[in-house]
């Protein structure tokens, strides 16, 4: 062996180099890609900061918060009424440079403390009951999936994003009285291309983004109560007076959401302020709630009337969609309003009749618009251009298939969509069976990001950028196998099934009507949520249905049965055998009668052997 080293020093040298290489690579962290990026990020940050700058300056003294509220009522073609509340509080505070704030005016203190403590840049949380039927109702102003959905962008100063995310979900579960503490690593994903920030900012490093859904979460009055307490006027004045739970939850669709994001203060956008939008969307089915005639009124929908605007609001308006009523033959509003406004929302130019609550002279003491004669609308609803469905196919409790179908109803334009799928780990996806077909032919996505699941640690994440051809249905299929869980991991009612969260489909849909791209022009709240960069398309997000799959469920009485049976077998079978083998038998004479005993006593006395 020594002669080998002497004879071939070059080979020795190469071997040594290779071992050194192995040792060095094994010492760096397990995800060196991230480590390398982290090193790159640090370098750029050092370059940007001016060494002459001192500690972060304190916040400006002008702390003028503003609050606006609005309600949009839109009669739908299917006979339902869509009511959308939006409350917007703008807070002149800037958290991006680590400022500390202790004075709260209109912005709720509970949320302000959460944002500053966890260095949150953007927070979007929604609670929904019911599923939005796009084909019958059109597109909603603010889409949301059934159950609870939470996605958060953290500031770049956060070092441990996962730990901060866990604490944030616990705190939010206390604020909103929801079981958001069930959000953990098994249902949190980090999308790589979807859910870009909706607020201003330059950085889009997806390491600071976390997304989670809880499809099983219910919404009830206990979630509405703390939501109402975040409003400056509470539920005592203004439009929030209408939010009574007995009517709101007796609806086909109910969704309440809180969106916090930084926005530009002015046109030049040199400084940002924090915007809190609280939205509540509800679709009322007037037939099932006992109204036979086709007339609707604010009182019938909410069983309350409006008396005054919130004194802290700078604007308080009600918009009623009268686009289908251009000649006045469909319905007639009373009290009539002379104010009309037009807005482009979701690629459609709609006309609204506006009631301004701050201007009390126009409507007297109470306002309850209602319409006297509402006939079934004759005109066509604008067909939504993007629509999606999702279902589970297959039979039995072992395998199945997930089908997601995306429809493009545009006659001649194709557009790209980004599909985000997050499937729990107990449905083991076979990604080699993933197929995307449009019009019968295979459609290769231009970007795929797939992160496989780890049992009990993280879910599957599948993101695909697919180009939808015009007037077509694109189907995405993937097969899966169901896993058998440990018996402690089942919920108390496992026969109900397990939920798989909705898929998210984000897309820039071409529109025929030019959308407004200016950021500070006064627009009604419902049309200014998603930022538009170009005029001829608008951003839309569509959620599919959640899936309910049955996992193979064991019989939970089996441990008890096994114990009983085993103990019986041991006691009866083994016990009797053991006794037979180890017991020794002795013959015992029966005890003698009384006469014999006395006779034996006498015989003993005589010295004679006993009987």
């Amino acid at each position: 062996m020594a002669s080998y080293w002497n004879r071939n020093p070059i080979r020795v040298f190469v071997f040594l180099i290779l071992t050194v290489f192995v040792v060095v690579r094994s010492n760096i962290p397990s995800t060196p890609g991230e480590g390398a990026e982290e090193r790159r990020w640090e370098a750029s940050q050092v370059g940007d900061v001016d060494p002459g700058m001192s500690v972060a300056p304190p916040h400006p003294h002008t702390n003028t918060d503003s609050f606006q509220e609005e309600l949009v009522v839109r009669p739908l073609h299917s006979g339902d009424i869509y009511a959308s509340f939006q409350f917007r509080t703008v807070w002149e505070a800037d958290f991006s440079r680590g400022n500390k704030v202790s004075h709260y005016q209109l912005f709720p203190k509970s949320l302000g403390q959460v944002i500053s403590k966890f260095s949150v840049r953007e927070l979007h949380i929604s609670f929904t009951q019911g599923y939005w039927r796009t084909m019958q109702w059109g597109q909603p102003f603010l889409p949301s999936p059934p159950g609870a959905e939470l996605w958060v962008w953290f500031q770049d100063s956060v070092t441990d994003v996962d730990g901060t995310w866990k604490e944030l979900t616990n705190v939010l579960s206390g604020i909103f009285c929801a079981s958001l503490n069930f959000i953990d690593s098994t249902n949190t994903v980090q999308p790589s291309a979807a859910f870009k920030p909706l607020g201003v900012g330059n950085v889009t490093d997806h390491r600071f983004l976390r997304y989670a859904t809880l499809p099983r979460e219910i919404v009830c009055t206990e979630n509405l109560t703390p939501w109402k307490k975040l409003l400056p006027c509470g539920s005592k004045a203004g439009l929030a007076v209408l939010l009574k739970s007995e009517k709101l939850f007796h609806s086909s669709f109910h969704s309440q959401a809180v969106h916090i994001r930084p926005i530009c203060q002015d046109q030049r956008c040199k400084s940002t302020s924090l915007e809190l939008r609280q939205t509540l969307n509800a679709v009322f089915d007037l037939h099932t709630s006992g109204q036979a005639k086709r007339e609707w009124s604010l009182f019938k929908m909410f069983s309350r009337t409006l008396t005054e605007a919130c004194p802290l609001a700078s604007s308080s308006k009600i918009y009623i969609d009268i686009t289908d009523n251009s000649q006045g033959e469909q319905f007639e509003l009373s009290p009539a309003s002379s104010l009309l406004s037009q807005a482009v929302v979701l690629g459609d130019r709609r006309t609204f009749s506006v009631y301004d609550l701050t201007d009390q002279a126009t409507f007297g003491s109470t306002l309850s618009p209602f319409d006297k004669k509402w006939q079934y609308p004759i005109g066509d609803m604008l067909r939504p251009l993007l629509h999606a469905e999702r279902y589970v196919a297959g039979y039995g409790l072992q395998t199945g298939e997930i089908h997601t179908v995306m429809y493009n109803h545009h006659p001649y334009r194709s557009f790209p969509v980004l599909l985000l799928d997050s499937v729990p780990w107990y449905l083991r996806l076979y990604i080699h069976t993933l197929t995307v077909t449009s019009k019968g032919k295979e459609n290769k996505p231009s970007y795929i990001h797939y992160q496989p699941s780890k049992d009990r640690l993280r879910p599957h994440l599948l993101e695909m950028l697919v180009q939808l051809p015009p007037n077509s249905a694109t189907e995405v299929t993937v097969e899966f196998e169901r896993a058998l869980l440990k018996w402690t991991e089942y919920t108390p009612d496992p026969n109900h099934g397990f939920y798989v969260g909705s898929s998210v489909i984000s897309s820039l849909v071409p529109s025929t009507v030019a959308t407004n791209t200016s950021i500070t022009q006064e627009q009604p709240l419902f049309s200014s949520f998603f930022p538009c960069k170009e005029e001829l398309s608008y951003f839309v997000r569509v959620y599919t249905e959640p899936l309910l799959v049955n996992l193979p469920t064991p019989d939970f009485s089996m441990p008890y049965n096994v114990i009983c049976l085993t103990c019986t077998v041991v006691a009866v079978g083994y016990g009797s055998l053991y006794n037979l083998l180890t017991r020794s038998f002795q013959i015992e004479e029966p005890s003698p009668g009384l006469a014999k005993r006395i006779a034996n006593v006498i015989r003993r006395m005589r010295g004679v052997p006993p009987l």
Binding site: L18, F21, S30, S179, I218, C220, L465, S506, P531
Partner: protein, 385 residues
């Protein structure tokens, strides 16, 4: 000598006079302020738990909510109430009137109300969480509304309802808590000084078995039925289709509706709620561990809330907010592109698990083979290649 005796008697008389005055004054003082301080507690907490799941156990949720409603009405704020409901009845899809839970038939009384805050709901109501709430051993990130932040001057009301048996209470149809565990939890609370006095009410079948094993001081317990008896439900509502309340809690609610925050009814009246003629089962109670006489314990000591208000004339000067110069940020912020297609397509994939580079493994195996063949002779190589 008569003068001295005269002075002595006057001295005695004045002494007795002052003494009687002092005693009388003390008595008067104790009369009015004595009642105020006799209970010894400064704050009130309530832990109300419903342990049953599924729609046909509507009555257990209605039980808990009616106690919640009474407790809130008598003054305990939401921040001092830990409400645990194992299932949602109000917004259940089977409920013909959503967002309501009724306790009386013909929908007379909606105990759910408009201002309810449920702290633990659904799958969170487990034996472990209940015991952690009682003993205070919760993970550090638990929010305040889910904690029982009581101290040694707190009077706590604990109300449990659900399905139970001899010595256990069933949680969510999948696990149970035994009376021994509960007694040990209360002992932990006593050792950690987490309560001043504790009232334990349980409305389940064979509920008296749950308080048999208590051994910590200052505990008073009430149950809706004795060992071997079942607690029965009150009345069904034909529109909703399920039984709305249990009998014991129904009559308890009726009793509590007559109590207002200043009432002086005591515990002996509470023991008389729901006699056998109304309840069919025999309610039981246990007061041997309680130091005070139950006749001197007010209902509002546990169901209401002590609010001691001190009026002060002090003023606090607020400091002026710090004025800062307007600092202009150098960078121009813009909204981010929501779907930057070209950026996405050219994105490099991130977060790959580390694998050693492919050529490395090949080279390693080649090296190993070469070393082998060199040591043992080149003649083997011919046979391999």
């Amino acid at each position: 000598c008569s003068a001295r005796s005269f002075r002595f008697t006057t001295f005695l008389a004045s002494l007795t006079q002052t003494l009687t005055l002092v005693v009388h004054f003390c008595l008067v003082f104790q009369d009015s302020a004595g009642q105020f301080f006799s209970s010894g507690h400064t704050n009130n907490w309530a832990v109300l738990v419903c342990t049953s799941r599924f729609w046909f156990n509507y009555r257990h949720v209605a039980n808990t909510l009616s106690v919640y409603r009474s407790v809130k009405r008598l003054g305990i704020p939401d921040s001092h109430i830990v409400l645990m409901l194992a299932d949602d009845m109000a917004c259940n899809h089977r409920n013909p009137k959503p967002a309501t839970v009724f306790s009386h038939k013909n929908m007379e009384l909606n105990v759910y109300g408009d201002d309810v805050e449920v702290d633990y709901r659904g799958y969170e109501v487990t034996v472990e969480n209940f015991l952690r709430v009682l003993t205070g051993r919760l993970p550090p990130s638990t929010p305040r509304s889910k904690r029982l932040l009581s101290d040694d001057r707190s009077n706590i009301l604990i109300y449990l309802t659900g399905h139970g048996g001899n010595g256990f209470l069933k949680f969510q149809d999948s696990e149970e808590i035994s009376n021994v565990e509960l007694a040990d939890a209360f002992e932990q609370m006593w050792q950690k000084r987490r309560y001043n006095e504790l009232l334990f009410i349980i409305d389940t079948c064979q509920g008296a078995s749950m308080y048999e094993r208590f051994y910590s001081p200052n505990l008073m317990a009430l149950a809706s039925s004795q060992v071997g008896e079942d607690s029965l439900s009150h009345q069904p509502d034909l529109a909703i289709g399920v039984h709305l309340m249990d009998r014991y809690t129904f009559y308890l609610l009726e009793f509590l509706e007559d109590i207002h925050p200043a009432s002086k009814t005591n515990m002996n009246d509470l023991f008389k709620v729901c006699p056998k003629s109304q309840c069919v089962s025999t309610p039981g109670h246990r007061t041997d561990l309680f130091l005070r006489d139950p006749g001197s314990v007010l209902i509002t000591d546990f169901f209401g809330s002590v609010r001691k208000i001190e009026i002060t004339m002090e003023t606090i000067n607020l400091t002026d907010p710090i004025n800062s110069g307007n600092d202009v940020q150098t960078e121009n912020n813009t909204y981010v592109d929501q779907l930057p297609v070209s950026e996405i397509i050219h994105q490099k994939p991130k977060q790959r698990d580390w694998h050693p580079p492919d050529g490395f493994i090949l080279g390693l195996w080649t090296l190993i083979l070469l070393v082998f063949f060199k040591t043992y002779g080149v003649k083997h190589l011919k046979h391999v290649f």
